[in-house]
Symmetry: C2
Subunit: 340 residues, 2 copies
């Protein structure tokens, strides 16, 4: 029995180390094409992160760690490789966390082999953390539940299994989740393109909705939990995640729907006091003005394209990490679990 087949609804591994290079499933081309491409050095990994060929906070961190490992094999200047990878995207803290972990090993004199082992450990530990979070999160969900998720937090966004989507995999496998809804997640359509692809591929029945249909769905009584991932969690429990998460949390509160954030402890940034201190990435307005390479909005139109937002802790029912669950998150509970 293979490692993955022991766990149901879990067949996808999008970040693969191939002995001397990194193979990535190109997330820009899903679901139309399942196209793999290889990164042979840190610069190619940086480009893949910046271009969203690999995305999802944990997956970015893992890919970056492999970028460092390749730089070491090639005797490239390590400081430059670390700096280049660190600048690839600003919001997800897992990127910084993984690079700091590699940097510590470099400072301790680790050779190329040891750095590759460290990257592999980061990847393996992420998968293990996801399985653990799946168990912990699914245990919070009562029978006959419907859930709504946002963006893609699955195998594509992680070493495998996923964070929020891992909880959904576990909840479906346990028979507790009966209805799964996914928001499209404009403008990049991670929900429509990636989450639906994962769910269909792993045999989990689900329905896609427009992002703006979420409140109407909640009013219908079909969902009991909104389950999302995170790109960074501040010391007070505020959560930066894909644009639209905040809006879902407000709608959930209004309807008495519970709101779960699922993220490995590498997403927690105790050095950031509150969500207000988190840099929100603004991406190219072209993402809203074009589709499939065609201009879809009148020439001369402008757009504002923040791709993350901050959900205040007060709107969150539970933060699920591999170290445990924090219900009604706040500074004291966060400090107790993640403080020094």
């Amino acid at each position: 029995m293979t490692e993955t087949s022991m766990h149901s609804h879990d067949s996808i591994r999008a970040v693969q180390w191939r002995g001397d290079h990194l193979r990535l499933l190109d997330q820009r081309r899903l679901p139309q094409e399942e196209c793999w491409f290889d990164c042979h050095d840190a610069a190619e990994v940086t480009q893949a992160i910046r271009d969203l060929a690999v995305r999802g906070a944990p997956a970015i961190g893992i890919a970056a760690a492999w970028g460092v490992a390749m730089a070491a094999r090639q005797n490239a200047p390590m400081d430059a490789a670390l700096a280049m990878l660190r600048a690839a995207r600003p919001t997800a803290v897992n990127l910084m966390w993984a690079l700091d972990r590699m940097k510590k090993r470099i400072a301790a004199g680790a050779d190329a082999g040891a750095l590759a082992a460290e990257a592999q450990a980061i990847q393996d530990q992420d998968l293990a953390a996801n399985r653990k979070m799946g168990e912990l999160g699914a245990a919070l969900i009562a029978a006959h539940a419907g859930v709504l998720t946002h963006c893609n937090t699955g195998s594509l966004a992680t070493a495998g299994y996923g964070t929020a989507l891992g909880v959904i995999r576990a909840g479906v496998a346990a028979g507790r989740i009966e209805r799964v809804y996914a928001g499209e997640t404009r403008p990049w359509q991670q929900g429509a393109r990636l989450t639906m692809w994962e769910l269909v591929r792993d045999g989990i029945p689900a329905q896609l909705i427009a992002d703006s249909a979420a409140a109407h769905l909640m009013k219908s009584g079909a969902v009991q939990w909104v389950i999302v991932g995170a790109d960074r969690i501040a010391a007070n429990g505020d959560v930066a995640n894909k644009i639209g998460t905040y809006q879902l949390a407000i709608a959930a509160k209004y309807h008495g729907v519970r709101f779960m954030v699922v993220a490995p402890s590498s997403t927690i940034d105790m050095a950031t006091g509150t969500g207000e201190d988190i840099e929100i990435e603004l991406r190219d307005p072209a993402e809203l003005l074009h589709a499939a390479g065609q201009r879809t909005v009148v020439e001369g139109a402008h757009a504002w394209n923040p791709v993350f937002d901050v959900t205040p802790a007060e709107l969150i029912t539970a933060i699920v990490t591999e170290r445990g669950v924090i219900e009604r998150p706040g500074s004291i509970a966060m400090q107790a679990m993640f403080g020094w």
Copy 2:
């Protein structure tokens, strides 16, 4: 001076009677192409409404009235024409209102000429109502305001000038509105394709946002009002409008942003007690699963595609009609202005 040039930011007329046929600006093809097409009978008008070539609650009513007028010219069976047009779309009550108005004239023995005059009156009165609502709505807005709108409620959706977009035209012309934001309005992208086209064409600077970025925008303090149209307003002030309106209203309440609904009195349906009694149109899931004729979501995926939702009166700051403004709408205020 022409009729339209007296009013600034107002150059578009998408529904035009040409003496013996109806000419419509094809809203499916904007903004890539400004393509006009002609309807020569009630069946062609019905098809145009069903296919969204003409859309927007007031514009649908006007087009349907011209469909009846053409049926009369052609000595077509009037009951069949009325029934066919009435069934074209279920949610917007303006369609039923316009057809009932035509039916009353038919019952009173009106000939084809008189029915054409009635259709023209419906169209002219809609334009006049929009101008009046523009004045009334803009007067509610304090200086230096930012506003967010949803869907398309402009000249394209009406006889001209628009409902919510008419208030924005008036507020910009008066110098009170300084920032205009429009949500994309998935899945049909009325905001991205149509509202941005109107705003650019009529010289109103605006920024497009993803629907799910609205709460993040509100938190930034950039908008003081959300201004939307309506497809049907129930006797208690509940408002059916484009999917996503409800979510915006919840987010507005959470942020203390005011929420204005702008609709002619033909949108008010005192025979419908509350929003719960309004039929919400479900459209083809294909609208979420395809883009530009291409499948964009994995084969085997399902979608749920309600295209309207209901915003409860308690979330609405003001309903603006051509008859006057109802602040904090509720059954008593609605009955006082629109009851028998």
